[in-house]
Symmetry: C2
Subunit: 237 residues, 2 copies
């Protein structure tokens, strides 16, 4: 029987033999939501990096990259845009390669790099992702990117939403998957309302990006599944 | 405002400045339950160690130690008893020092050693522990010892039970505390039934220790609060 496991923080990834899993990276506010939206809108690739400096280095490669970096909720000077999903529209990203600065997401990706396959999940592509996962006949590890290596509720709730769609199949759930799914039962009636009590949501509100948060909680807005190919996230075909 | 935080796995302890917290160590099946019961029953001290060999070394110290070690649910040959709470009765432990082999619990204790104070929690001493915590006016970190460094449901559910008793006070909850408390809401009607779906419970059942499990889920059987003093757990007075 295949495993359906939820890794509640990147710090716990080393406890899994990722070689045995398809890994889904989850960073709802906002990296994996923006990635799903950007790939849906025709970005040729999205390259996640952890540091603003790494991102800036792509400018010197002289190629036609769009560089995304922000600090304290504001676009860093000299960069094309920040991490808001509203920057990842067709008009802006179609045919382009975007270099995206995201600490938590890149960290999770890096620690999962030996997985059978790495794909990107968010509420935006929830059902498309789950329908694809259902056809794979593999162990699945849902990796919550969390916040500074610790647990967060929004990524866990999304993991619980994936478990909800997959649990009727013949998977063995670990305690993380059971917990995530139970939390999803509590939050699913109004995910936005449920997440208002979290500390991270409070932090994001202070950054003035409530619209981003609402955008990231839309379910099934997109159907593209971003998949890691080398160091680039591209559309699964 | 003081923090009330839940650390879902020992692997996440380094993310907290434990110096700023009273730490509660939680290892429901069965180390911290047995410790609470043993201290309640007059054990002079309980010394947690991680390896059977460390435990055995106390025999050579020539003192009057009771040595507790088990492998695969059976008492290791040459030891006085295993980790079952039923071994920690007045008749067996009153006035004695017990050296207890417990991998997960010792690991969590070790990583928390710089805390302001370290106490031991289990369903057995739930209300006594919470009543004491309420009087402390300190940050509180509930550390789930988990299973092989990963998340487990039974320790998290207990952490949620503590949050339930403390949350009316003026604490700031982190996402771990919110999640643990929400899971407790789901499980509290019948904790034993809720935990039956976990993998660890399945493993313990295979060891034939269902009676231990039921014992460990009894609420408020004891009032003693074990506290760490050097490398010894003693009764808080």
């Amino acid at each position: 029987m295949n495993q359906l496991n939820v890794c509640l923080s990147p710090a716990l990834i080393p406890l899994y033999r990722v070689e045995d899993y398809i890994v889904v990276i989850i960073d709802i506010f906002r990296a994996t939501s923006s990635i799903c939206y950007g790939i849906e809108n025709g970005a040729e690739a999205i390259i996640p990096v952890s540091q603003v400096e790494e991102c800036a280095a792509y400018r010197e490669k002289g190629l036609d990259y769009l560089l995304a970096a922000e600090r304290d909720g504001k676009v860093v000077e000299g960069f094309d845009f920040g991490n808001s999903p509203f920057s990842y529209t067709k008009e802006k990203v179609a045919g382009k390669t975007v270099v995206l600065t995201t600490t938590n997401g890149t960290h999770a990706l890096h620690l999962s790099r030996n997985a059978k396959q790495i794909v990107i999940g968010s509420f935006l592509n929830l059902s498309a992702l789950c329908n694809w996962l259902k056809t794979q006949d593999e162990n699945i590890l849902l990796v919550c990117a969390g916040w500074k290596n610790n647990f967060n509720l929004e990524d866990t709730l999304f993991a619980g939403a994936v478990v909800e769609q997959l649990k009727q199949l013949d998977f063995k759930l670990d305690d993380g998957a059971i917990a995530a799914n139970d939390l999803f039962q509590i939050g699913k009636q109004d995910i936005s309302e449920y997440l208002k009590k979290t500390s991270h949501s409070e932090r994001l509100k202070q950054l003035g990006i409530e619209k981003d948060i609402e955008f990231c909680l839309q379910v099934d807005l997109t159907t593209a599944i971003p998949v890691l190919d080398g160091d680039r996230l591209v559309k699964f075909t």
